[in-house]
Each structure stands twice: as structure tokens, then as C-alpha cells.
């Protein structure tokens, strides 16, 4: 015992959970490299190609009738698909997290189907169900409400593909929060709707916002399912992604890349919006998570 030194001074204090510097730098470099190759380079290329013949040429191609119609259609699809999916997503998440019932696990799996099914297959299903050859479809066409090769089909296809986003964001948050706050509001005399608007909605608003932003980005960018149901009619049922592909195939690269740049910009705007909101409400976010 006596030959153990009384005060053992280690050579250097080293935090246990820290790598050696060169490993750290290697990892950081790797991340940046991957980001540069997969993310930044393609994005820059899109803008570079769009502006290759000058801003004027890019703008001219965008004000073309077809391009304008594509932008209008894409925005229209988002205007319908996103709010509807937000409502469905909230309803599904509410149903799954606040009640216990038989077949809950199956329902959760069903919500994920759009993630696992190829969008092209989803589009085909819509064509088969609502196309002119099905009895539903022929009835709809006879009554002047065609779904396939028309806007309703495109909205449907976009909704199918983006359905899981809102529900997927909300379910874990709502499970974690439990139902005690809602029950407390009920015992204080609040009606169901009041509880929803004053307690549930404020508690899930951030998850809801993320879900809606993701849903929006995907709805505007969807290609596969829309390609099948839209029939790709120029100026009528061609959304932005569809038009970009058609223009690209026809070697109108400035027009294709200009439209692609606008689509990318829309996505970037969503991202900036999200960051701004996070920054603006940082205090509230922190207050909610500190427990």
C-alpha cells in the first residue's frame, strides 16, 4: 500500500468521449465531401445551366406559356394536397395516439404504405380505379368530372405519395406527450374542440410545421405517380417536374434548368422559412423541451 503515490497526477486530462484530432478532422472532411458531391455540386450546376445563356434567356423560357402553366399547376396541387394531408395526418395521429383499439399496428403500417410502394405503382392504381375503363371512372367521365389525365388525379397521386409525412411527424410527439394535458383541460370544463385548439395544437405545432413543410416539398416535386396519372398533356396536366423532364428530353436545356432552378428555389425558400421560424421562436422551443 505504501508505495502507491499519494497524489497521482495524470499527464493530461482527456475527455473520455472525444476522438483524437485527426479522426475528428477526417470525419468532418468526409461529411463536407459527401455534402459537396451529392448536394451542393448538383444544385450549383442547376443554377449554372439555367443562367448559361444569361438571365434574360432564363426568364424568357420561364414566361413561356407551358412553363407558366406548369408552375401554376404545381402550386395548385400543393394548395389542395398539403392542407388536406395536414388534416388527415392530424386526424390519423390523433386517432392512433389517443385511443387504444384493435388493429392499431395494422393502421400504422397502412400509413407507411406510400413510403414502401413505388410511386409509379400508386399512379397505376389510380388509373386502374378511376380511369375511363373502370365503372367508377366511366361514371365520373360521363358526369364531366374526369379524374385521370386531369387535375383531380394529379392531386390524388400527390396526396397518396405525401400522406405519411404529417402523421409520421406527429405520432411520436403525441405519444411522448400523452393525454394528461388534454384530460386536464377537459376536467377544467373545456369542450373537445377547445381542448384541440388550445392544448393539442399548440403542443404539436412544431412537429406539424415540419410535417407540412416536408409534405409540401414532396408534393411539388413528385414525379413518378403524377407522370402516370397526368397523361403529360402540355399546358394542361404537366406539373413542373413533368415539364422539366419533357424539356430536357427535347434538349431545351436552358428552359429545363430554369424551371428546375425555380423548383429548387421553392424548396430552398421552405427551408429558409423553417430556419427563420426556429430562430424566431427559439425561446419557446427551448422552454417546451426543457423538462
Amino acid at each position: 500500500m505504501s508505495d502507491i503515490p499519494l497524489a497521482y497526477v495524470p499527464k493530461a486530462f482527456k475527455p473520455v468521449a472525444t476522438e483524437v484530432p485527426w479522426v475528428r478532422w477526417l470525419l468532418i472532411t468526409l461529411v463536407f465531401l459527401v455534402l459537396a458531391v451529392l448536394l451542393f455540386a448538383p444544385l450549383i450546376t442547376v443554377f449554372y445551366e439555367a443562367l448559361r445563356e444569361g438571365v434574360g434567356a432564363a426568364l424568357t423560357s420561364l414566361t413561356d406559356k407551358e412553363s407558366l402553366s406548369a408552375i401554376r399547376l404545381t402550386l395548385l396541387v400543393a394548395v389542395f394536397a398539403v392542407p388536406l394531408n395536414a388534416i388527415f395526418g392530424i386526424a390519423a395521429a390523433w386517432f392512433i395516439t389517443k385511443y387504444s383499439f384493435r388493429g392499431k399496428a395494422i393502421l400504422i403500417t397502412l400509413i407507411d404504405i406510400p413510403f414502401s410502394v413505388s410511386p409509379v405503382v400508386a399512379g397505376l392504381c389510380i388509373v386502374l380505379t378511376f380511369g375511363a375503363n373502370s365503372w367508377v371512372g366511366s361514371w365520373l367521365v360521363a358526369h364531366g368530372m374526369p379524374v385521370v389525365f386531369a387535375v383531380p388525379g394529379i392531386v390524388m397521386a400527390s396526396m397518396f405519395v405525401t400522406f405519411p409525412f404529417v402523421a409520421r411527424e406527429l405520432i411520436p410527439v403525441m405519444i411522448e406527450q400523452g393525454k394528461a394535458e388534454e384530460e386536464a383541460a377537459l376536467t377544467l370544463g373545456a369542450t373537445g374542440w377547445r381542448v384541440f385548439f388550445t392544448v393539442t395544437l399548440p403542443n404539436i405545432r412544431w412537429a406539424l410545421l415540419y410535417g407540412v413543410l416536408l409534405c409540401n416539398a414532396r408534393a411539388m416535386g413528385e414525379f413518378g405517380a403524377v407522370a402516370v396519372v397526368s397523361g403529360k398533356i402540355r399546358g394542361l396536366t404537366a406539373t413542373m417536374p413533368i415539364t422539366i423532364e419533357m424539356l430536357y428530353n427535347e434538349y431545351s436545356s436552358v428552359a429545363a434548368f430554369s424551371l428546375a432552378a425555380v423548383l429548387a428555389l421553392l424548396a430552398l425558400v421552405t427551408l429558409v422559412l423553417k430556419t427563420l421560424l426556429e430562430w424566431r421562436f427559439a425561446d419557446q422551443l427551448a422552454a417546451q423541451h426543457r423538462h
Partner: protein, 239 residues
């Protein structure tokens, strides 16, 4: 308010949480539902508050059948186990919630709401914390805010689910007296759930010992201590 529990039973699916139990709680009493987890005490409390509906049996408030009353109609001041304060609202807004939730005809004007909330903050001896958020409070402060929020609706009874469960031993002792004082000031029939026999024996006028969905014994603390009715009660209170 006098509370009568008449042959109440509760099943969740195929499992019975409560076998038919009957219980009479005198008006103004401070009652403890005491038992280990799974004894059905919380289920019974939630049935009183209208958060759970019994499979069979009746609940009577002052002699009139209240079994079918909704949770809002019960007007029970309910304090939840982890307090369930609204995390996105200030303490003031938490306490004002029940008043603001009233239909317009009976909703007090803003000045009156403010006056009442401040009076409740005085009652729980935390007059300065109205502007804070629940996350900025200690456990003991949260419990008292939950109590004030429940009292704001001018409840007919006070129901508390493990009100001291989430607190450390020292705060727990202090708040016991706090609950006793609030009970004595308001005169409300108060029922609290606990698994801590010390807490039940020290605080309650009437202790209901429960086990496996059944009532083992009902009595004053000293009577239960002196004459435990069953082997379970004897073991549980000496633990």
C-alpha cells in the same frame, strides 16, 4: 359535497380493474385511497372525475345520480400525477384556463379573471410566479400551481392522483400541510390517491385501503392502525 359510490365496477377489455365496490364519503372529508399499484385506486378516482366510466354501478353526488354526467359537468378539481400543466402557457394562463373555457354567458370579465387568479396565487403562497412557464418551476411549485388551476373552476370536489408522488421527501412533508390547509380553508370534499401509508395515515380523515380491485377496509387512520380488518391491511400499513 357528499359522494356515494354504489357497487361500481370497471373492466378494461377482459381484465377487471375494480370489482363492485361501495363507499360513502361524507361532505367535507379528506379521504385517502391507499393501496399498492394495480389496486384500482386511480381507476376509482378517475371514475369520480368522469375521466373513466364504470362498467356497472352508480356514482351519487349529494344523493343525485351523477353516473352519466360528462367530465365537464362533474366540475371536479383534478390534480394529475405529473400535474399536466399546459407547458406552452404561463402559470397565470394555466390557472385562468378553466374560467376562460366557460361559455360566454358565465365567463367572468378579464378583470375578474385576473383578480381570481391572483387570489389563488396568494392561496398557494406563490404570488410572484404568474408570468413564468411551468418548466421554470420546481416540482413543489408545479404541484401547487396544479392545485390552484383545479380550484379556479370553483369545483364541487377535489380529486388528486398521487399528488406527492413526484416530489422529494422534504418537499413532500411541507406540501402535505399545504394540502391540509387548502382543504380546511375551502371545505371541499377531497379525495387523494396514494401508495404511501404514512401519507394517508397522517393526512386523511378517512382512509380507504384497496387491493386487487377491492376495498379491504374503510376507517379513520387510528382505527385502521388499531384494528386492521385483513392480513393484507396489517401487512401494508406496517410496511
Amino acid at each position: 359535497m357528499q359522494i356515494e359510490i354504489d357497487e361500481i365496477s370497471k373492466e378494461f377489455g377482459t381484465t377487471a380493474a375494480l370489482f363492485p365496490v361501495s363507499l360513502s364519503l361524507p361532505s367535507g372529508a379528506l379521504v385517502a385511497l391507499l393501496g399498492p399499484s394495480g389496486s384500482g385506486k386511480t381507476t376509482l378516482l378517475r371514475i369520480l372525475g368522469g375521466l373513466e366510466f364504470p362498467t356497472s354501478g352508480r356514482v351519487l353526488f349529494d344523493g343525485s345520480d351523477a353516473t352519466a354526467l360528462t367530465v365537464q359537468e362533474r366540475r371536479a378539481g383534478f390534480v394529475f400525477q405529473s400535474y399536466a400543466l399546459f407547458r406552452h402557457m404561463t402559470v397565470f394562463e394555466n390557472i385562468a384556463y378553466g374560467l376562460r373555457a366557460r361559455p360566454r354567458a358565465t365567463r367572468p370579465p378579464e378583470a375578474e379573471i385576473s383578480r381570481r387568479v391572483n387570489k389563488l396565487l396568494d392561496l398557494i403562497q406563490l404570488p410572484q410566479i404568474g408570468a413564468r412557464y411551468p418548466t421554470q418551476l420546481s416540482g413543489g411549485q408545479r404541484q401547487r400551481v396544479a392545485l390552484a388551476r383545479a380550484l379556479a373552476i370553483e369545483p364541487r370536489m377535489l380529486l388528486l392522483d398521487e399528488p406527492f408522488g413526484a416530489l422529494d421527501a422534504k418537499v413532500r412533508k411541507e406540501l402535505r400541510q399545504g394540502l391540509r390547509d387548502i382543504h380546511d380553508t375551502t371545505g371541499l370534499t377531497t379525495v387523494f390517491v396514494t401508495h404511501d401509508q404514512d401519507e394517508a395515515m397522517e393526512l386523511a380523515d378517512l382512509v380507504v385501503v384497496m387491493s386487487m380491485g377491492r376495498i379491504e377496509q374503510i376507517g379513520r387512520p387510528q382505527d385502521i392502525r388499531a384494528r386492521p380488518a385483513t392480513a393484507f391491511v396489517r401487512d401494508f400499513i406496517s410496511a
